[in-house]
C-alpha cells in the first residue's frame, strides 16, 4: 500500500498547506478588507495583481520564481544578503510560492464577504462609540465568518492540489519539497501504477470531502 516515502509526502503536504493557510489568512484579511473598502486606483491594480495566479499557467509562476529567486535574480540576491540563502529547493521557498499561487483563493471569498456586510453595521458600531479595531474584531469578522471559512478551506485544498509550481522550484527533495502531487508524478513516471493509484484515489476522496463539507457548512450558515 503506502510506503514510508508516501507517508512522508503526505505529512509534508499537510504541513505546507497548514503553514500556507495561516499565513494567507494573516495577509489576506487586511488586504481583502482594504480591497473591499477602497475605491482608489491602487486598490484596483492590486486586485488585478492578486487575481493573476488564477489565470496564469503554473509554469509561468514557477519559471519566474526560479529566475527571480535564483543566484542572479533580484530576490535571490536579497535573500542571500539577508543570510537566508536561496529559496528554491527549500520548504520556505515552497511556502512563498504557495502563498502567491493560492492568494486569489483566500482573497476573493474574504473580499466578497466584507463587501456583503455593507456600511450600515459599521455606522451603527460607530454611533455606539466602538473603535475601528473593535468594530473589525467584534462586528466585521463574525459577520464575515462564512467567507473566512471558505477562504481557509480553499487555500488549504488548493495548496494540497498544487503541482506545476512545486515541480518547477521544488527539486523533488524527500521530506523537504516532495509533496503528494510530485510523489504521484514520480510513481507514474517510474510506471509504479499501483502506488500512484493509492495516492491519487486518496486525493480524489480528500477533495470531494472538502468541497462537500464546505457546501454543507455554507448552507447551514445561510440558513442561520
Amino acid at each position: 500500500m503506502l510506503s514510508p516515502d508516501d507517508w512522508s509526502a503526505i505529512r509534508l503536504t499537510l504541513e505546507l498547506a497548514s503553514v500556507t493557510t495561516l499565513l494567507l489568512l494573516a495577509i489576506g484579511i487586511p488586504l481583502a478588507w482594504w480591497l473591499a473598502r477602497s475605491r482608489s486606483w491602487l486598490a484596483r491594480i492590486t486586485a488585478a495583481l492578486v487575481t493573476m495566479p488564477l489565470v496564469l499557467p503554473p509554469t509561468v509562476i514557477g519559471f519566474y520564481l526560479l529566475i527571480a529567486f535564483g543566484a542572479n535574480g533580484p530576490f535571490g540576491q536579497l535573500t542571500q544578503v539577508l543570510g537566508l540563502g536561496l529559496l528554491p529547493f527549500t520548504f520556505a521557498g515552497l511556502v512563498i510560492a504557495s502563498i502567491l499561487y493560492s492568494l486569489p483563493f483566500a482573497i476573493q471569498p474574504l473580499q466578497q464577504a466584507f463587501r456583503a456586510i455593507g456600511a450600515r453595521p459599521l455606522e451603527v458600531a460607530a454611533t455606539l462609540r466602538a473603535s475601528p479595531l473593535d468594530t473589525f474584531v467584534h462586528v466585521v469578522l463574525p459577520l464575515a465568518r462564512p467567507g473566512l471559512i471558505t477562504a481557509a478551506v480553499m487555500s488549504f485544498a488548493h495548496t494540497v492540489g498544487e503541482f506545476g509550481v512545486v515541480l518547477m522550484i521544488g527539486g523533488n527533495i524527500p521530506q523537504e519539497t516532495r509533496v503528494i502531487s510530485v510523489q504521484i508524478y514520480d510513481h507514474v513516471e517510474a510506471l509504479e501504477y499501483a502506488q500512484a493509484h493509492w495516492l491519487s484515489a486518496g486525493m480524489l476522496v480528500f477533495s470531494f470531502a472538502v468541497l462537500l463539507a464546505l457546501n454543507l457548512l455554507n448552507r447551514r450558515e445561510a440558513a442561520a
Binding site: L66, I67, F69, G70, A71, N72, G73, G76, G85, L86, P88, F89, L167, M168, I169, G171, N172, I173, Y185, D186, V188, E189, A190, L191
Partner: protein, 246 residues
Amino acid sequence: MRLPALLLFAFLPLAAHADTIPVAVAANFMPVMQKLAPGFEKQSGHTLQLSSGATGKFYAQIRAGAPFMVLLAADDTTPLKLEQEGLGITGTRFNYATGQLALWSPLAGAVDKDGAVLKLANFRKLAIASPKAAPYGQAAMETLQALKLDATLAPKLVQGESIAQTYQFVATGNADFGFVALSQIMENGKLRAGSVWIVPATLHHPIRQDAILLKPGVNSAGARALLDYLKTPAARAVMQQYGYRF
C-alpha cells in the same frame, strides 16, 4: 471560394508519398534533432513533427495509443520493452547514439576537468535528473556511487523530473552544479558556456540510446527513411558535435 478548395483536394493524393511523421524524441537529443530535421525534410520531402520529453513518459503514452511513428529513446531498455510488447516493429531497433554524462556549471572555472570539486563538497546544491525515470539520472547516481560520494552528497541533491529541468536548475543558478547531458551544453563541437567535467564512461553503465519504429509508422516510408537517415555519416557528424559517441 469553393472551387479552389476542391482543386486542392484533387491534388492531395499526388502528395501522398510525403509523410508527416510524429517523432517522440528524448529530451537530451532534441537539440540535435532540431538541427538534423531541416536537412532530412529537404532531402526526403517528408515532414517531421517532433515532441520532446522523458522516455518513461513516452513509454506510457505509446502504450496508451499515442500516434508516434518513431521513438528516439534515452535508453536501450524502453525500445526493447516496446518490441517485446508488440508495440515496436521487430528488426527496426538500433543504437543511434551513446550519450555522455557531464558535470556542468555555467560559471567558468567552477568545475575542474577531473571533477575533484565534488569531493570538496563546499557547495550548496547538486542537480541530477530523476534516477528512477531518466537514464542520465541513473548514470549520475551510478557515478556518485562509484566515487563513493552518494552518501555524503545526498543532502545536497536536487532532482529534475527530466534532464531538461536539471539543466534549467543549474542554468538559473539555483543549483551550483548539475549532471547534465553533454549534448545540452555543446554546440558545433564546443562547450557553449561555463566549465565541465566529462564523466569517464567507466564510472557508469553506457547511456546507449536506441531508436525503434512504432506500430503507427509500419507503413510509413518516411518513418523508415528517418531511421536510415540517422545512420548516415552526415547525421553522425552532427551528433558528434553535440558530444554523442558511437
